[in-house]
């Protein structure tokens, strides 16, 4: 599709039209502010929708209808429960904000704010569409992970400031999780940077344009190293965003609500929001790095604007997160760290080697291309099986005997 079509440039045109009312020196600033506002508003509404969707998906998986009562107030119109997020928001706002007497009041207040701030910062470098990237950074990927890592610090802040034993345990878990999973997350991204040859997110997305044989998109996930990298990224992203099965800081059945135990009212809502923002950002980064960003999956579908493709991919990833959450039990903290250090990190390192091989064999052609695929897949499958066997050593379904 034409990169300059009216639909594609639509958001930019609106912005330019709006800022054109302002004097020239203020335009750049107003444009940026407008972009920031747009991102925050878009993702805040996505957050509201996601809370509902998540509850609906969980409910449907569990054979329940899910929240379906709140519709338009004072009428009997239910709208599938679309009013639920609004009602939740009002409830959260009107709840009493309780701060424990012995809590560190400043940190207790700062933690949700910091968490939200860091989560929003990460949106800056994600290309939401062909022309829609809030800030064009040369080292966008680096910036993203630097800002993203700080979110766990806010979780630690919350746990520490609450002066609650459960919160403290949660804080410690959050730190352990941060240290363990930042590494596989970054290592899974290194091959992308290596093969794309750039740290800029827009650059990476542009590298994934085009179709092999006019059919298979050249997204990184459709290469052996990309698939493995994506899988590692997905697992690490689940852990980074404290989602089940890695929701240890908030382990409901063990630590009541972990770092959130002493939070109520709007602060709690802020945490909730920040966690969803973090999840969206990580999923957005996953889409950017591995799923071709805003690129259309098939060439004839390219007439649909790029930001819609990005949104669709983002939603798919988010739904996958929910699906995983609906299925899996939680890991224990030692198993969580073991999974990171003994499985994901080595696998990511192997993947780095595979990516190097891929890069070196880029000029193989013809039937040899297939061998290239096979070799790369083998190089990954072997370590995967071996490491997996090591990780699950001693664990197996058991055969039971019966009394005679």
């Amino acid at each position: 599709m034409n990169a300059d079509s009216i639909l594609e440039r639509g958001p930019l045109l609106v912005r330019d039209w709006l800022v054109s009312f302002l004097p020239e020196p203020a335009r750049w600033l107003a444009g940026s502010l407008l972009a920031i506002t747009a991102v925050i508003v878009a993702f805040a509404s996505l957050f509201a929708l996601l809370t509902l969707i998540e509850r609906k998906v969980l409910a449907r998986v569990q054979n329940r209808p899910g929240p379906n009562r709140v519709g338009i107030p004072l009428t009997k119109i239910r709208l599938f429960g679309l009013g639920q997020p609004l009602a939740d928001g009002i409830k959260m706002l009107t709840k009493e904000d309780i701060v424990p007497r012995s809590a560190d009041r400043v940190l207790h207040f700062l933690a949700p704010v910091a968490l939200l701030a860091f989560a929003i910062l990460t949106f800056a470098v994600i290309p939401f569409g062909r022309h829609l990237v809030p800030v064009e950074l040369e080292a966008g990927v680096l910036y993203f992970f630097a800002a993203g890592a700080a979110t766990e610090l806010a979780v630690f802040m919350a746990g520490w400031a609450s002066r609650n034993k459960y919160s403290l345990l949660a804080a410690m878990r959050a730190l352990a999780q941060l240290i363990s999973y930042e590494l596989p997350l970054l290592l899974s991204v290194v091959p992308v940077v290596m093969l794309a040859g750039t740290l800029s997110t827009t650059g990476i997305v542009e590298r994934q344009g085009g179709w092999t044989f006019g059919l298979l998109p050249q997204w990184h996930v459709f290469t052996p190293w990309g698939a493995a990298g994506f899988a590692i990224f997905f697992v690490a992203a689940l852990a980074e965003s404290n989602r089940s099965p890695f929701d240890l800081p908030e382990a409901e059945s063990e630590l009541i609500a972990g770092h959130l135990t002493e939070y109520s009212g709007f602060k709690y809502a802020l945490f909730f929001m920040a966690e969803y923002f973090g999840m969206c950002a990580l999923c957005g980064m996953g889409v950017t790095l591995f799923l071709g960003g805003w690129q259309a999956p098939l060439s004839f579908l390219a007439f649909i604007p790029s930001y819609i493709w990005f949104g669709a991919k983002l939603m798919t990833l988010l739904l996958a997160f929910m699906w995983v959450r609906a299925t899996l039990p939680r890991l224990r903290i030692d198993q969580l760290t073991r999974l990171a250090w003994k499985f994901l990190v080595p696998l990511a390192l192997v993947n780095l080697g595979v990516a190097a091989f891929w890069s070196l064999s880029a000029d193989w052609t013809g039937a040899v291309r297939l061998t290239r695929w096979l070799i790369a897949a083998m190089l990954l499958a072997g370590p995967f099986v071996l490491l997996g066997r090591k990780l699950t050593a001693g664990l197996a379904p058991r055969i039971y005997r019966y009394a005679t």
Partner: protein, 392 residues
Amino acid sequence: MIASDISPLASRLSSGAHTRAVTDPFHGDLLEVSMGPHHPSTHGVFRMQVTLDGETIVKLKPVFGYLHRNHEKLGESTSYLGSMPYTDRLDYLNSMTNNWAYALAVEQLAGQPVPERAEYLRVILAELTRLLNHTCLAGFLLQDCGCSGTPLMYAFREREKILDLFEALSGSRMMCNFQRFGGCRTDASPEWLAAAKQLTDGYGAFLDEYERLITGNEILMARTQGVGALKPDLAISAGITGPMLRATGVDYDLRKVDGYGFYPRFEFRVPLGDHGDTYDRYMIRVLEMRESIKIIQQAFATLPAGPVMDPKAKLRGFRPKPGEAYGRIEGPRGEIGFYLVSDGTPNPYRYRVRPPSFVNLTLLEDLCLGHTVADAVIILGSIDIVLGEVDR
């Protein structure tokens, strides 16, 4: 470097001294956490006073009694019949087996025979209760493991079907109050039997799906295998009964040992575990459910006609001769027994419940030491307690 330097905790555990000063300049401070009585995973108002080294448990004291209502005193101040609805409220998930155990004890005390059809009905209802309880346990245990409600909801969906059956028969979902001394309160209609048969026949499919959902799950195996392992000797000494005992490999099922009711007429197997850990406790229950289905199907096939109540049985003014009796059955959680002493008056002189989950709790600390908080939660879940019964 000797082992104790690497792992001071392990050496402390092996030497038996698992308590140490809360403040210790060399190993860091211990954290004392009071888990419960208001905690999402203590299955009621149960408290564990836990001392933690990091996340590892070095000391754990169960504290309970928050739901204590002196059930035994109540039993001594009401008539024999009047205690029957109170037994519903002991283990409120399994009122049918509680009723049966109490009825059995009173029947032994008074020498009261039970008609054949009533015994069959009791077997059917007890095995349905076992299905219900084990299904719930599987759901709750997985919830404790951190599943976001999915296994629990599937379990509750099936449990609801059994509860509907109970409601149609006894009038109440959980507080059935169904067994009487000398039989059952009402007879099951053919429609009820058909519905129950349909449910039982479809239950295997549910179990298959449930097992596909979770049993082979690597995370579940990692969380439960080797966690809270119990040795058979200790289990016997501590009076552990039910699936928790059989998970350690001890073959002791009252349905086989005592042969009460008409259990000797039915063919079923008793699954045994080899490790006695949480995974075995979970799996033994799943396998027991499959055996229960077989028992119920056999009972339906051979259910005789006839009355469900012994014509000589008395409801009002029931006064057994002086004497005592201890009647016990294999409840879903273990041996539930009632010990009754009669002095010839309408009220029992002594009314004692032998609650399985209370006795099974004896070893909670032994099972949890050296494991983490997260493990303590699932170990407690796999012991399968109901506070209505523990606290009485």
